[in-house]
């Protein structure tokens, strides 16, 4: 019997990134940290004649409030909080969406961020010139190793976000590759290309509107 439960649990965690939490119970206490695996973010479907990889060009949306994937057809709603496309991360606010989304990249440890500092500045997206989650290698959440053609999330970076509905959450990007494992530097370009743009991230959502986690 016990084995069966473990098996089912394993299947659920492997099969989906949406380990559903009970929303009603979580109204006044922050949900514990949830890890989302293999979240595909505009994976590469081809190369241009110049060798530049491209995907379908669409953002993949996630709702931290409901802990689930949101269809891209809902892009103009407040159903989603964070959008991922390649290394670009958008929040549902500014010119990215109709919500109250805003945020910034905090330098420090996820577990030590118990309260969002009072003097923090929440930025809104102003695509394409600036984003709340700063774009670019070694500027926001990731670093690009041009020699080995690999992207690594910078350790000690927390994405502090205001959701579409004005609540707060913290997000840590753990990995950018399929299965949560960065290919070895010696891996082939084919592997590096096909396995990238799969996010592993963890987040904590505070449903009560405070900045405390």
């Amino acid at each position: 019997m016990k084995k069966g439960i473990i098996m089912i649990g394993l299947i659920i965690s492997l099969a989906s990134c949406s380990k559903q939490t009970d929303n009603t119970a979580a109204i006044n206490t922050p949900v514990s940290s949830v890890t989302v695996n293999n979240f595909a973010a505009d994976t590469i479907i081809g190369l241009t004649a110049q060798g530049i990889p491209y995907g379908a060009g669409k953002y993949s949306f996630y709702s931290v409030e409901n802990n689930k994937t949101v269809a891209s057809s809902d892009s103009a709603t407040t159903k989603w909080d964070v959008g991922f496309r390649g290394t670009s991360i958008i929040l549902n606010g500014g010119n990215s969406g109709p919500g109250l989304g805003a945020g910034f990249v905090y330098v420090g440890l996820y577990n030590n961020l118990n309260t969002i500092p009072a003097d923090s500045t929440f930025k809104v997206d102003n695509a394409p010139s600036s984003y709340a989650i700063t774009a670019g290698s070694n500027r926001g959440w990731y670093v690009y190793d041009a020699i080995n053609n690999l992207i690594s999330p910078i350790p000690g970076r927390v994405l502090v976000i205001r959701t579409a509905t004005g609540k707060y959450a913290k997000v840590e990007i753990l990995n950018y590759y399929k299965g949560g494992v960065t290919p070895a530097a010696s891996a082939s370009d084919a592997i590096k290309l096909t396995e990238q743009r799969y996010y592993t991230f963890r987040f904590t959502y505070q449903p009560n509107g405070t900045k405390n986690f």
């Binding site: 190369l47 110049q50 060798g51 530049i52 990889p53 330098v107 440890l109 996820y110 577990n111 010139s129 670019g136 070694n138 990731y142 670093v143 190793d145 041009a146 020699i147 080995n148 053609n149 690999l150 690594s152 999330p153 910078i154 350790p155 000690g156 970076r157 840590e172 753990l174 990995n175 949560g180 960065t182 070895a184 530097a185 010696s186 082939s188 370009d189 084919a190 290309l193 592993t200 963890r202």
Partner: protein, 695 residues
């Protein structure tokens, strides 16, 4: 006649130091003569800085062909791959070791690396390796140390030929000869080398080592006006032709380029030396060298590509050696250097970049007690293009007893910013269109681009761009030698190099469209420190064992401070960020903590056999945790052992045969040791024509 021969054999820096050759009751060992450490002739046993010598015999018995072959078997030296084969000494990158041939510098570095493959060992009489800063005598680049290649000089009538053939269709031919007639002496040397190269990469058309043909010749002419005055003329040239098949993979799209790379070296020296009396000697030298590199490629999509680089270096120097008395000797020199460079990677190939340096150095050696030698020296380099450099040095040697000597030295070394760091104007269209601009160009170009709206953003580092300062190091070496008996000989040295103002590239701006622009800044402060030791043990007269070991620690001081301030993170097994600890810090990449070698040598009745082991412990190669510095959570290359072996015999003192196997264990590492071939074999035949020296 004998006197003539001795004189002829010590041509370069031909300073007959009457003082050093006086009875030296404490010398005990180390009777080989070195010139590099003090710019004057000294017995090895009397030198106050760490010096090692590799003899012609050792080079031959190791079956070496190019300079890197023999250097890789020396303690504390690691050869780097990338832009040719460079030398890493005391943990410093190839940029910081000065390479000399007969006391004059070679030029033509690519990304700071002087490819040691350019130098054949066929006419090397001995290699002198001085460790620690030597800028007090040699100026720029002598930060980690100096490798001086002393070539054969005419001393009698000889004619030698040798031929070697081995794996990868590698052939090497040498012919050298010399003669003396009355006041004239000549030494000539030619070397031809060819290899098909090899490939250890399984899925690439590009070879690890491309097919190469090299041709080197050297001529040395001496004229002895009188026993006190001689003139010499030396000319060397090296031609390289490399067949390039270069495969660039950009996001999985493979572009192959075919073509030829040609590299040419010329070196010419004229020297006039005059000894006024037993106290005073003056030497004047004029040196000119040129390195020219042309790469012509045609890519598979039909686009031609040309890369051109030319560097010229001219120098005039006068050195005076004055022996005041048995206790004090002075060496003083003044010189002027002019250096130019042209490159297709600068703004225009036709526009010649130029730098001029005026310099003076003074060194005094004082022996207050028979067992104590003190050396103080300094050099001042006044540069046209960057700030002046002052390089002092102090050294001492104390002979505790006949069998135990101690040495200590402290000195400053520097490396001038090179033309690339000042003038590079390079945009890589293939790989995302990033650009690298030298500091002189960067501000100008970026400001101009900005004014026409082609710059998206300027980074903080853009505002720090300014005049580049030379990179400086302060090196401390403390060591000694111990020779209790005829069988055992032990040397050891502790070193510490504090390096300031290290130049590194930084992102300074983004173009509209996202392409990155890099330039150079004086950024880092680093250190290297360690222990080096060599033991020689004569088991029998015919059987010798040599063992060497280096322990090395390196680090970037700013990185260490960030770690200690709790600002550096890494990831745990779950991928969650955590603080990185100081003990996880590895330091500078591509450096092994432990390196060792062991050589067993048997020699009897003109036959020899040797087996040489080289060990290198793991080294960090990639920052996989993305925290911007190297730590124990990153990717390492595996440690390895390489074994080389050779046997040989000489018949009737004229005919020599040798066979050898390199990399006996067939070790290879495709990613991290691309220049290391698998197991390979060779055989050499050499003939020495009979010499008839007229009395």
């Amino acid at each position: 006649m004998l006197k003539w021969c001795i004189l002829g054999s010590i041509l370069f820096f031909s300073v007959i130091n009457s003082y050093a050759q006086k009875s030296d009751t404490l010398s005990g060992f180390g009777n080989e003569v070195v010139v590099t450490a003090t710019k004057t002739e000294r017995r090895l046993s009397n030198v106050a800085v760490p010096v090692s010598i590799i003899s012609q015999k050792k080079i031959q018995q190791a079956g070496s062909l190019r300079l890197n072959d023999i250097l890789q078997e020396q303690t504390g030296i690691y050869l780097t791959s990338g832009f040719g084969t460079g030398v890493q000494m005391q943990g410093l990158s190839p940029d910081y070791t000065l390479i000399l041939i007969d006391g004059e510098p070679l030029v033509g570095r690519t990304a700071g690396v002087l490819d040691l493959n350019r130098i054949t060992v066929g006419n090397i009489k001995q290699i002198e390796i001085v460790k620690g800063p030597s800028s007090s005598l040699y100026g720029s680049e002598a930060m980690a140390g100096v490798i001086n290649i002393i070539t054969d000089k005419p001393n009698k009538t000889t004619l030698k030929a040798s031929a070697r053939y081995g794996s990868y269709n590698t052939s090497d031919l040498n012919l050298s000869g010399s003669f003396r007639k009355n006041k004239l002496a000549y030494q000539g040397f030619v070397n031809g080398y060819a290899t098909d190269g090899f490939s250890i990469r399984p899925n690439s058309v590009e070879r690890s080592i491309a097919p190469i043909k090299r041709f080197t010749m050297q001529h040395n002419l001496n004229y002895y006006f009188s026993p006190k005055t001689n003139a010499s003329f030396n000319f060397r040239t090296n031609d390289e032709k490399i067949i390039n098949i270069i495969s660039v993979t950009n996001n999985g799209l493979v572009t192959t380029s075919n073509g030829v790379e040609k590299n040419k070296d010329y070196n010419t020296t004229f020297q006039l030396a005059h000894r006024f009396n037993s106290h005073l000697k003056n030497t004047s030298r004029i040196y000119g060298t040129q390195y020219e590199s042309t790469q012509n490629l045609l890519t598979s999509n039909g686009v031609p590509y040309t890369d051109y680089f030319k560097q010229q270096f001219g120098r005039i120097e006068n050195q005076t050696d004055y022996t005041i008395n048995d206790v004090i000797e002075l060496n003083a020199g003044v010189g002027y250097t002019i250096e130019t460079a042209n490159s297709s990677r600068y703004d225009k190939t036709e526009s010649t970049k130029k730098n001029q340096i005026g310099y003076a150095f003074l060194q005094s050696e004082w022996r207050p007690l028979p067992q104590l030698t003190l050396i103080a020296g300094a050099r001042f380099d006044n540069n046209e293009l960057y700030a002046a450099a002052f390089s002092p040095k102090l050294a001492m040697q104390y002979k505790v007893s006949k069998s135990f000597h101690l040495k200590a030295s402290i000195g400053r070394g520097f490396k001038a910013p090179d033309f690339r760091q000042l003038y590079l104007n390079f945009t890589n269209a293939a790989a995302g269109g990033y650009s690298v601009f030298g500091t002189v160009e960067a501000q100008k170009i970026i400001t101009q681009l900005n004014s026409i709206g082609q710059i998206a953003s300027l980074e903080n580092d853009f505002y720090k761009l300014g005049e580049l300062k030379p990179e400086f190091s302060t090196g401390i070496n403390i060591g000694g030698s111990f020779k209790p008996n005829n069988e055992l000989d032990l040397t050891f040295n502790f070193f510490r190099n504090n390096i300031e103002n290290l130049i590194d590239s930084r992102l300074v701006a983004y173009r509209t469209g996202g392409s990155q622009i890099f330039s150079y800044l004086n950024l880092k402060n680093a250190f290297t420190q360690g222990i080096e030791t060599d033991i020689h043990y004569k088991v029998f007269n015919s059987f010798n064992v040599n063992a060497g070991y280096q322990f090395l620690l390196t680090g970037d001081k700013d990185e260490i401070k960030r770690i200690e301030d709790g600002k550096v993170y890494t990831r745990d097994a779950n991928g969650f960020s955590r603080l990185m600890q100081r003990n996880e810090y590895v330091g500078l990449p591509n450096r092994s903590k432990h390196m060792a070698n062991l050589k067993l040598q048997y020699e009897k009745n003109s036959a020899f056999a040797n087996i040489r082991l080289i060990y290198r412990s793991k080294w960090v190669v990639t920052d996989t945790d993305g925290n911007g510095l190297f730590n124990s959570n990153d990717a390492f290359a595996k440690g390895f052992v390489q074994i080389n072996t050779a046997v040989g015999k000489t018949f009737a003192k004229t005919l020599s045969l040798q066979i050898g196997v390199n990399n006996l264990l067939d070790y290879s590492d495709v990613s991290n040791l691309p220049n290391m071939p698998g197991r390979n074999f060779y055989t050499t035949i050499a003939y020495q024509f009979t010499q008839k020296n007229k009395k």
